[in-house]
């Protein structure tokens, strides 16, 4: 059972999603605006947030940025907007995944669970604490430190960093990353990967335009190091 905060202005969608999730055994908290959502996030401490982008008053994007400013809670955007630029902007605002409406509860739940799994440690890692240059990656406490300061990473960013750094100098295609980190089993959006790598670089690299830790292998994908 998962506590889900649904931030959605359309009452029918709110009710529908709530009914679907409750039918699958989850607990839902429903709010209609971003402001209420922020308040409820503090009050009820949900495990995952389902966020609509087109909200009255404070927009979904702004809500997403405000949440990320103080919380690492997994955020899944649920939006009817499916233009490339909307998806990229949404992911850059700090969301972990992007689901396009209409989607069945099955899909929404699968995405939610995938995001939630990112906070559990990868089973295959034998090293618990590794140091890569200025980065210290702690697989037990699930955190990353740079110069001794903890980085505020969203669950997907952390999972991507853990996955890539577990196999340094090995190149993964975006499809592989999509399957391993996002657990998408279909040909999903590579934009998800690109946007997440961009956000992660902004947090861990000294110069994001000239990356040191996460490097692009043109035509293939991404690789951690060599440092």
């Amino acid at each position: 059972m998962t506590r889900v905060l649904v931030i959605e202005d359309d009452p029918a969608v709110r009710r529908g999603v709530s009914v679907g999730l409750r039918h699958r055994g989850h607990e839902t908290v429903l709010v209609a605006t971003g402001e209420d959502g922020l308040a409820e996030l503090v009050a009820s401490a949900p495990e995952v947030v389902l966020l609509d982008l087109m909200l009255p008053g404070m927009s979904g994007l702004e809500t997403c940025r405000r949440i990320r400013a103080f919380s690492q809670v997994p955020i899944v955007i649920l939006s009817a907007r499916d233009d490339d630029v909307d998806i990229v902007v949404g992911l850059e605002a700090g969301a972990d995944d992007y689901v396009i409406k209409p989607a069945s509860t099955e899909v929404i739940e699968a995405r939610m669970r995938a995001v939630l799994r990112r906070t559990t440690p990868p089973a295959s890692s034998d090293q618990t604490r590794t140091t890569h240059g200025d980065l210290l990656i702690d697989r037990v406490a699930l955190r990353a430190l740079k110069h001794g300061t903890q980085l505020a990473l969203a669950p997907t960013e952390l999972k991507l960093l853990l996955f890539l750094s577990a196999a340094p100098e090995q190149t993964f295609s975006r499809q592989q990353l999509l399957e391993q980190v996002w657990e998408h089993t279909f040909y999903g959006d590579y934009r998800l990967v690109d946007a997440c790598v961009m956000r992660l670089r902004a947090k861990i690299e000294d110069d994001p335009r000239n990356p040191r830790y996460i490097q692009t292998v043109r035509g293939f994908g991404y690789r951690f190091g060599p440092l």
Partner: protein, 477 residues
Amino acid sequence: MIHPSLVRGLRAQLVLVFLLVSVLSAVIAATITFRQGRTAIVARAQADALQDLRAHLASRTPDLPADPTETDLRTLALQLDRAAGIRGWRTALSYRGGPLIATGAQPPLPAQLRTQAATSTTALAQRFHRGQVPWLAVALPVTAAARPQGPPPLVVYASFSLASQQQDVDTLAAAARAGALPVALVAIVPALLAARRLLRPVRRLRTAAERMAGGSLDTRVRVTGNDELADLGRTFNTMAATLQSDAAALRDMEARARRFAADVSHELRTPLAAMSAVTEVIDADATSGRLAPLTAEALQLVSDETRKLSRLVEDLIEVSRFDAGVAVLNVDEVDVGELIGKTLALRHWRDRVRTDVAPGLRARLDPRRVDVILANLVGNALRHGGTAVSVLVQVRADTEQIAVTVSDDGPGIPADLLPHVFDRFTKGDAARTRTDGSGLGLAIATENARLHGGTLTATNAPRGGTILTLTLPRHPP
């Protein structure tokens, strides 16, 4: 591109006509001058000769006896010959129609002149050619003072060469000829200028027409002057303005229609989002057996139709994205066999579809879009081929392109439907208009193939069944 030779041709024609006119006028002017000059020269020579002859005769005939003897006449001829001077005429006398009396050799005289002179009372002259040299012969009748009537008793003939006059005429002709050629040459300059001036608006019109044909409907020509070409330019501008406004109106209408389709589709998404989220709950209740059978059936129908409607809206949005031209290609290098395997596995088609793909074949393509194409082709084959259909996916590749064929052993596509199979909302069977598909699948597949710079074709195999072929370039645009 309009033939550039047209303009060159027009210019050549204009220059040629101009030259012809100028040469013709120069030649005509020269000819008239020449003829007038020649006539004047000859007439002058004739008049001078006659005057001289008359003067000499006038001074000598009073000495002649009334009935001169042959010796008298010979003396007169001799005297006249001696007085010839530079003209160098030779004379002969004929008394009362008698034979010609000359001092030396008889001068050449045309026979016609002699006949006429026998009865004439005035001086006669005739030009004739002797060898290549023109000669002039004159006949001067001398009337006796006692008998002014009747035929003249004495006729004095004189003939002399016109060679020096001919020389003058030749010089004149040469001068006329020499004058005509430079005139013709000089005429090229104004001819070219005139052609240029005339053709400039034509060229401007041609350039403008080319630009219009290239799609820039805001093209206008600069109109100067008030001639027929200016009128043509103004008409062209009017036409361009009409075309532009028509095209703008059409584009506007089309854009509005597209925006409407896109807006409607997007607006449908929100209620569908609510409905889609609860289909599972409905399905669970409908199959639980706790509800009345009729209610359960109704719920099942709602649930199924909701799913269909969701798919239709998704397809409509995809189509409107293609129509708006905002669909982009995210090209990546992928293993084709792996891609096909994933497409089939994801839709649980692995055991129903056979594949024939060379392992390790890599290509640059948009895997998401190719997945959509393949899913549509294979799905179509499975749906319309019947339950026992066998579907085969084959991949053939060369250096330029990759051909993916999806063939089945089903009933095939009816011949009248074959050309429209990739059109929107084409349904396989009129009686089964509500199939699983939205009717947009193959149209979307075609658009996706086109986005790759590839093609999608459908044929019926000779032994029955359908062959759908997707051709993709190895290096997409």
